[in-house]
């Protein structure tokens, strides 16, 4: 079974993964057995009963009710076994343990953001402790998204009009990919994130540390980190090319024409306003799709971003 696992399935990063994989393996080997049987018989018959010399002879017809019943009953039993097995695992995937820590997940075009009960927030990177059940309470701000972590074998649609729930308990530390698996438009295929699983003590430290540049990190470098972490890079290029939003190259101090025809010079206050209230003043020629980062970014994060944008000259 290990051979199928390494070929087909990603690493098992959660408590449910091995169960899901075991059932996958079971179906895989049964299917392989029957598939080889079906193919072998087909090929054998084609060789053995090949029409010779262009003549075909009439042969008496055989009918067998016993055979028909056999190949109805045996697959039915096997399928019921698979159903019950899958059903049990599905129940486990859906019953959230009582001692879970809860994280609020928000999907929107085109990034994930997280709110912890302790007040911490995050974008893109979901930081969780190892060995502790985590409940994700999820909703969307626009269209339907779907939260998928292959290594944990979990997936749940994220809807605009209600909360959906999924949970996992990571069994190993490391970083694992998060994908959006419900088509949501232009940035769908880049709505990536990572789950960063930390040992409990490091996680606690992370939770307390909050935000701000690390030791010895300049505001500009911190801003560069925020630029990627908060998925600004999904819509804003650094090389002058036009994307969903205006490029950041040479943005600071540039004169931009707004959609209402007025022109302004990009300064610290305009950047700050655009992050927190993006619909207030928009550069002409772009769709009004920028989401607000109110409640997600702290002042220090915006300071870092401004420092970073200032550094991006032509």
């Amino acid at each position: 079974m290990d051979t199928t696992r390494s070929l087909f399935l990603p690493p098992q990063g959660s408590t449910v993964a091995s169960d899901v994989d075991a059932l996958f393996g079971f179906i895989f080997w049964i299917s392989l057995f029957f598939f080889v049987g079906v193919t072998a018989l087909t090929v054998y018959f084609c060789i053995k009963y090949k029409r010779k010399d262009g003549k075909s002879e009439t042969t008496p017809y055989i009918e067998s009710m016993a055979l028909e019943i056999t190949w109805i009953v045996i697959p039915t039993i096997l399928l019921m076994v698979i159903f019950v097995w899958g059903f049990q695992d599905f129940v486990r995937l859906h019953i959230v343990p009582a001692n879970s820590m809860e994280i609020k997940v928000t999907g929107q075009k085109w990034f994930w953001s997280y709110n912890y009960e302790e007040g911490a927030t995050g974008v893109g990177e979901l930081v969780v402790p190892v060995g502790k059940p985590v409940k994700l309470l999820m909703s969307s701000k626009d269209v339907i998204h779907s939260f998928f972590v292959p290594a944990f074998r979990i997936k749940m649609d994220v809807l605009p009009n209600r909360y959906t729930i999924t949970w996992f308990e990571a069994t190993m530390t490391g970083e694992f990919e998060i994908y959006c698996t419900e088509f949501c438009g232009k940035g769908h295929s880049e709505m990536w994130g990572t789950v960063k699983v930390l040992p409990q003590d490091e996680f606690d430290k992370w939770l307390e540390a909050g935000s701000g540049p690390g030791e010895g990190e300049s505001m500009k470098d911190y801003g560069a980190r925020m630029f990627v972490k908060n998925a600004c890079n999904t819509c804003h290029s650094l090389d002058g090319s036009k994307n969903v939003g205006p490029t950041f190259q040479g943005l600071f101090g540039r004169r931009e024409v707004m959609s209402d025809g007025t022109a302004i010079t990009v300064d610290e206050n305009y950047i700050r306003e655009s992050v927190l209230n993006p619909m207030a003043k928009q550069v002409a020629g772009f769709d009004p799709v920028m989401p607000t980062y109110q409640g997600i970014l702290k002042d220090v994060d915006i300071d870092g971003l401004i420092a970073y944008i200032k550094s991006l000259e032509n």
Binding site: S31, F45, C46, T58, V143
Partner: protein, 542 residues
């Protein structure tokens, strides 16, 4: 024995473009459909190749994400609504089914022609959408994305809506034809299995399509006048749209595969020259699939936010769809036992179907299993699964059927060697394209991605090579089949020495199909009693 083309037949009895565009002859309408549907297949294929080209690299090659989203949406919409749903019923069902039951025409010839015109109108709407903003919602039109998208959603919904009516009228026509116009003495259990399959398909067309119609109409109203029933901001529910959509679109999957299964039954029996094993089981399994197909739509929605209880019930019922398909496969193999098997081109398509559809079926079990589907839903595993069923199943059957009935339709034979090369190319190319997608899927590669993480590049590249091989294969088929229409060797009335009624008329048939009313003399698969001898020449084997 050399054959000649009969002097008068349905192709030359009337001439001029009007005799085609105003025809009421089911055979000519079948050919009109063939032209439109095969052109759609070509269009959809071009989009498929564009997709595979773009996916050679995670970076942009030809198309940015917006263009890519259009390409996969158009590939899906064209292949499903314009190609695969009408393909077998409208082309081969129209041409062959009345001949098989000894009828002069379908019950309502004018309605039949109207269906074709409705199809053409739907086609025009789709093309109009293509040139006025395209479509980027995927073929599933999920709200609220589809209510917000700035592409030409309304024309494409209109196209699907209109095409639905074409499908309903075809289905209605066929049900009545099969009920009322069978040759004297032909009981239900003497019907060829292709007719049974067409009948089961027609039932689904008639029962499921109106619901799609109303769903698409609601979605259009949502966009145009903002009735808000799928809009969460107005108290509506986007998951409700998914229920409505899949209530049609899951049974629609059986509209696509059932007629294919019918063709395979004909091919296996004819080329094994053997009475079909378990006739009633195959016939009733078609009806069984049609019935259970209506009860399993929720298995597309295991992670959509529908209730867990609903998910469990849908999963349970889903496994029962697997059983009738399994019955068919095993009965076909049992038919070959002690047969007299000839590996002509149509039979090679049938064998490809057996192998590829089995893989499609087994992976369907994987996806029907609740816990595993949570992992695999909306990944490349699903993409690969439905291509194994739809291409590995239905498309193999369509081409098997076209090769089988080509001499009947045009009276001429195609080049057997080229045909065999083509079938091998398609089989190999198909497996290269799609098998690797199972592995990508289990590893977590989501579908509808314009770009991807670098670890998948090798597999995507491999897959694209297969697509190219398939593309060349289909091109080859188009070339030799069209060549055969004009320059092929005359085939004679019954080149395969088959026993179903369509082989008792000349090839091509006369305008009225039969001289007088044909009477049933033997069952469709009485190979244990008779083997017709009016063949092209002593039977060829490889």
């Amino acid at each position: 024995m050399e054959h000649t083309i009969p002097e008068k037949h349905y192709l030359n009895e009337a001439t001029g473009w009007k005799s085609w565009l105003m025809t009421l002859d089911h055979k000519r309408i079948g050919i009109l459909y063939m032209i439109m549907v095969m052109f759609s297949f070509f269009l959809g294929g071009v989009f498929a190749l564009l997709i595979r080209w773009e996916l050679l690299s995670p970076d942009k090659i030809l198309m940015g994400p917006e263009m890519y989203n259009q390409a996969f949406s158009l590939h899906g919409i064209i292949m499903i609504f314009l190609f695969i749903i009408p393909s077998i019923p409208a082309i081969l069902g129209n041409f062959v089914m009345p001949l098989m039951i000894g009828a002069k025409d379908v019950a309502f010839p004018r309605l039949n022609l109207a269906s074709w015109y409705i199809y053409v109108i739907g086609f025009c709407f789709a093309v109009y959408a293509l040139f006025t903003g395209g479509i980027d919602t995927g073929w599933t039109f999920y709200t609220p994305y589809s209510s917000e998208s700035t592409t030409a959603v309304i024309p494409i919904l209109t196209a699907a809506f209109v095409l639905g009516f074409s499908s309903i009228f075809t289905g209605l026509n066929f049900i009545v034809t099969i009920h009322r116009l069978r040759a004297p003495g032909m009981t239900w259990f003497q019907l060829p299995l292709f007719v049974w399959a067409i009948y089961a398909t027609a039932l689904i067309q008639v029962l499921a399509t109106p619901v799609l119609g109303i769903t698409l109409a609601l979605l259009m109203l949502e966009r145009v006048v903002g009735i808000g029933i799928f809009d969460p901001a107005m108290g509506g529910d986007p998951v409700l749209f998914q229920h409505f959509f899949w209530f049609y679109s899951h049974p629609a999957v059986y509209i696509m595969i059932l007629p294919g299964m019918g063709i395979i039954s004909e091919l296996i029996a004819t080329f094994s020259h053997r009475r079909i094993f378990g006739y009633k089981f195959i016939a009733f399994s078609s009806l069984g699939i049609a019935f259970t197909g209506f009860l399993v739509w929720g298995h597309h929605m295991f992670v959509s936010g529908q209730s867990d209880l609903a998910a469990v019930i849908f999963s349970f019922l889903t496994f029962f769809v697997g059983i009738p398909s399994g019955i068919k496969i095993l009965n076909w193999i049992a038919t070959m036992y002690k047969g007299s098997i000839s590996l002509d081109t149509p039979m090679l398509w049938a064998l490809s179907f057996l192998i590829l559809f089995s893989i499609g079926g087994f992976t369907g079990i994987v996806l029907g299993t609740l816990s595993i589907d949570v992992h695999l839903h909306d990944t490349y595993f699903v993409v690969s699964h439905f291509h194994y069923v739809m291409v590995g199943g239905t498309v193999m059957a369509i081409f098997g059927g076209l090769h089988y009935w080509w001499p009947k339709i045009w009276g001429r034979m195609y080049n057997e060697t080229l045909a065999r090369i083509a079938v091998v190319m398609i089989f190999v190319g198909f497996n290269i394209t799609f098998f690797v997608q199972f592995i990508m899927g289990t590893q977590g590669m989501p579908r509808r991605y314009a770009t991807y993480l670098p670890q998948f590049q090798g597999m995507h590249g491999f897959s694209s090579i297969g697509a190219l091989i398939m593309g060349v294969g289909f091109l080859l088929i188009a070339i030799y089949l069209i060549y055969a229409i004009f320059k092929g060797k005359p085939a004679g009335p019954n080149p395969w020495r088959a026993l179903t009624m369509e082989w008792e008329t000349p090839s091509p048939p006369t305008a009225g199909n039969f001289e007088g009313q044909p009477i049933l003399e033997h069952g469709p698969y009485d190979y244990d009693k008779v083997i017709p001898e009016n063949a092209l020449k002593p039977y060829k084997t490889i």
